[in-house]
Symmetry: C2
């Protein structure tokens, strides 16, 4: 197992434990709604965003604990977005991370509410950092000029031809903003100065782009068992993808450039940034 995989696994375990504590604290919540939240929140996600937040905090402060609430909030927001994106009115997906989607198991109304509850409770969890900066960062990344806006652009674009620039904008909002926010939230929790915050934000933005391009590549080249979701789904929805617009080889080059950019953004840091550098390079290996 590579260093990046070790890093991801260690941060994932810490996040998993913290998320279980968060959910256990919801006393008096309707059991069916908690069950629906658990179904999607504990479905074996990679916990990339929490790992970024914890790694960024550790880089600037030497410990990752101050970023743990932000890490949980990021994963809760990411999970809410998956639940809502999978709804029949949106992408209408039956399978996610190898399991039936939330609405397939619990019905549409409960799935909508499970997403709403996760998004809302993410801000209660984020408030545990005692930082309004972290709250603001998360809200803006997930909001109308970020993830929610990106999903709208993605829906608006279905069935019509996008340019590569338009696709880049969709991705920057839909997935890039939250991955960038993950690195920035970790930096904020670690007490980063403006330069370190800027560098980690840049790192996150480039990493997010690389991640999305490889996701598009995997959708073309991967198999459903490895991914835990339907492949070719983007093509079936006539959704624009990097391989579709730029070709597979050019897409791989773009992903490599993005990873190089992410690594370059960390040049002001010393060897202590090795885990984040390894993580950036690891993103490329996902499609091999």
């Amino acid at each position: 197992m590579s260093a990046a995989e070790d890093f991801l696994r260690a941060k994932s375990l810490r996040t998993e434990e913290a998320l279980h504590e968060v959910v256990a604290g919801w006393r008096g919540a309707p059991p069916r709604l908690v069950e629906a939240v658990r179904h999607s929140l504990f479905a074996g996600g990679k916990r990339l965003r929490p790992a970024l937040a914890l790694g960024a905090c550790e880089l600037v402060r030497g410990v990752d604990t101050p970023a743990l609430p932000a890490a949980c909030a990021l994963e809760m927001i990411h999970t809410y977005s998956l639940i809502h994106d999978d709804l029949p009115a949106m992408d209408d997906d039956d399978l996610r991370r190898g399991r039936p989607t939330c609405h397939k198991v619990f019905g549409e109304a409960t799935a909508i509410l499970a997403g709403d509850a996760l998004l809302t409770m993410a801000f209660d969890t984020a408030a545990e950092t005692e930082s309004v900066e972290v709250v603001r960062e998360l809200a803006r990344a997930a909001g109308i000029c970020g993830m929610a806006g990106g999903q709208q652009l993605d829906m608006d674009a279905e069935g019509r031809a996008l340019t590569l620039d338009e696709l880049r904008r969709v991705h920057a909002l839909k997935t890039g903003a939250l991955i960038r926010a993950a690195a920035r939230c970790g930096a904020l929790c670690g007490g980063a100065d403006a330069a370190a915050l800027g560098a980690l934000g840049e790192y996150g933005a480039r990493l997010g782009l690389a991640f999305q391009i490889t996701d598009d590549i995997l959708d073309v080249t991967g198999d459903a068992a490895a991914l835990g979701k339907r492949t070719g789904a983007d093509a079936a929805h006539t959704k624009a993808t990097y391989p579709g617009l730029a070709g597979l080889d050019a897409s791989r080059r773009l992903a490599e450039e993005a990873v190089d950019g992410a690594v370059a953004a960390l040049e002001g840091f010393g060897p202590e940034a090795a885990p984040l550098r390894d993580l950036a390079r690891f993103v490329l290996e996902r499609d091999r």
Copy 2:
């Protein structure tokens, strides 16, 4: 026009103006999504929650401006909940505040996203108070042990008989929690001490109960033109209501008791609490 109506109108105007500023600040957001948000956010709501927040802040600090971001956030959260509650998978309503519901005009996907965006941006707006306490208060009131949980209980209860105690719990979570949070957020923004915060929270909780009971009464006795939504809708959905479970006269008595409790909660304050006392009494007049 009564003093309470003057108060509500003045606070509503301040909130309206501030909400327009909030939305104008969303540069680069997808126009269609902003349009869907505007459709529901600027639909002539009473702005009760903002008025409570502004009134509570004014009571403890003499000015209401510090609570303006919280007031906006409360109305954004309230509006998101209406958009999602009206969805076909939820209450399936076509009409709200006298206008077609968000999903009737913009489609389900955009309506879901408009609600998501409003909920998310509410926390960006709340962060303008620079208080994590306010963020926490809002998230808990709207979350899985509050409004979202109450909506789940309400859905679970459809078609089966509820006791009055069960109905009280649904209402306490679904509408009571956010109205209580409105008063508490205003108090927090005004720098209230623990006693004032507790008293205003109690006031809000009682007022919320009175508000919900009169809402149930209006659904039985009101007409659609005055309410701007279908009446008899609760009965058509075989939803439990106070008049249905306790009778109309007993429901009116319960509402009066709740208002008396709200006014009593303010007994530690002097004449400066007159606007909030008047507001509590005004709630009763809505059904006459």
